[in-house]
């Protein structure tokens, strides 16, 4: 499919990109980085922006730093660059989620920020970002905002990325004594996540002192599985406790409308949530020995 015509700009700085967003705020404009959500949508006729602003060439938006216990990932860092940066030990959930995305070619182009900004229901990073407690830094014409992942990604996020704003980076605090994991049931048609679950656990002397669980594919937005997290805290990671917590995966999701379509009904997704929560917890638990040895 040939996408319809549009005007293309490739700013060299974040300020230029924001100026372009403001200048074209009356038109339908779209930001382009890796293009692996936007371009297929344009080719399929699902979206037809008049203006495309390519931020892929802005050097300050890409790259990873790990200083003073804060991991900063530039928004246009590709999946491949994150995976080769060897930061799995400080960002286990985000890195494992990233390793699930797409394929070799997709990972060479698609970006961490693009995944979070697009936040389709079956993408991998939103749920992982919830579990990891990530901060999303966004810059607009008047201010810079630091938003926690819940505010941007979870349902009814009132503080979403604005039309004239750029997500510039995500930040993670690599907490002590934490293990994490991300597993998913791959949608066999799309290659995205039918259901994906990310967990981050703080474990001290064999006891879970903090837990954070995020899931993709259950609703239109990523959701926290707080009931699972609450069930785990104060206990050990023996199989019985894991199963009990996972069994409550979709309890307490409240008024969230469960995603249901021809590929998977809501009932099936609920079942998958339990299965993949258990697998994620078991995987994270298997990594606690490594943490203790370190």
């Amino acid at each position: 499919m040939y996408p319809p015509s549009f005007d293309y700009y490739d700013p060299e700085t974040v300020d230029e990109a924001i100026d372009l967003l403001v200048e074209h705020s009356d038109a339908e404009s779209a930001l382009l980085a890796g293009g692996h959500s936007l371009i297929p949508a344009m080719k399929a006729g699902e979206t037809a922006p008049d203006v495309v602003i390519d931020i892929g060439g802005i050097d300050s938006l890409t790259g990873i730093t790990n200083r003073n216990d804060v991991l900063k990932i530039g928004a246009t860092t590709t999946y491949a660059d994150l995976l080769s940066a060897d930061v799995r030990s400080v960002a286990p959930v985000i890195v494992e989620a990233t390793s699930n995305v797409g394929d070799t070619q997709v990972r060479n182009r698609g970006t961490i920020g693009g995944n979070l900004a697009y936040a389709g229901p079956e993408q991998d990073l939103p749920g992982a970002a919830l579990a990891a407690g990530a901060t999303l830094v966004c810059r607009g014409p008047d201010e810079s905002r630091r938003l926690n992942a819940d505010a941007v990604l979870a349902e009814q996020g009132a503080k979403r990325i604005r039309q004239v704003e750029l997500l510039t980076r995500i930040e993670l605090d690599p907490a002590e004594d934490c293990v994490g994991a991300y597993v998913r049931k791959t949608n066999p048609v799309s290659g995205y996540a039918l259901v994906g679950v990310g967990v981050r656990l703080q474990v001290e002397d064999g006891q879970v002192t903090a837990a954070s669980v995020g899931a993709n594919g259950l609703a239109d937005n990523a959701v926290r599985l707080d009931t699972v997290a609450d069930e785990l805290v104060g206990g050990t990671l023996e199989q019985g406790n894991i199963e009990a917590a996972a069994g409550r995966a979709t309890d307490g999701l409240g008024p969230v409308e469960m995603r249901s379509n021809a590929e998977a009904s809501a009932e099936f997704r609920e079942q998958l949530a339990e299965v993949y929560t258990e697998r994620a917890l078991s995987k994270a638990a298997s990594r606690t020995d490594a943490v203790a040895i370190d």
């Binding site: 499919m1 040939y2 996408p3 319809p4 015509s5 549009f6 005007d7 293309y8 700009y9 490739d10 382009l32 293009g35 692996h36 371009i39 297929p40 344009m42 080719k43 399929a44 495309v52 390519d54 892929g56 491949a80 797409g102 394929d103 070799t104 070619q105 997709v106 060479n108 182009r109 290659g191």
Partner: protein, 169 residues
Amino acid sequence: MSEHEITLTVNGEHKELTVESRTLLVHALREKLGYTGPNVGCESGVCGACTVHLEGDPVKSCTAFAVQADGANIRTIEDLGSDESPHPVQSAFRREHALQCGYCTPGMIMTVTDLLDRNPEPTDEEIRKALKGNVCRCTGYQNIVRAVETAAAEYPITDSTDGSASGGD
């Protein structure tokens, strides 16, 4: 700003061309520049038949606008070997019957060469994972995996075995 003059270095050759903003890289390569090696297979960014190397990395050229590649180095299947002196991966594909219609093959081989550059002794699982973005309707993949395994035995490529027209990277 909907028409752009861009430059691409394709297989070592400097090219100047005018494209629309919406021109996909694969169409610029095939129709503007005559590199018909990369194929358009699916219209949805999943099949990988369009795979080329962009700045050394395999990417799906159907999911990039040509303007995004302005100034970049691109390598297509045309750069690998020749009829008289095929690239070891091409020879392995032939020997192991890893192609039938051949439509997926250019993209498949571009991903394979990148895999072997990074991982000279891939396991069966690593090969299959690396090729997840290259779909084949004919072979059932077994012979493709076998071809990669036998080609791996001849990596790393030295200039004398590369066989490429432009003398390699």
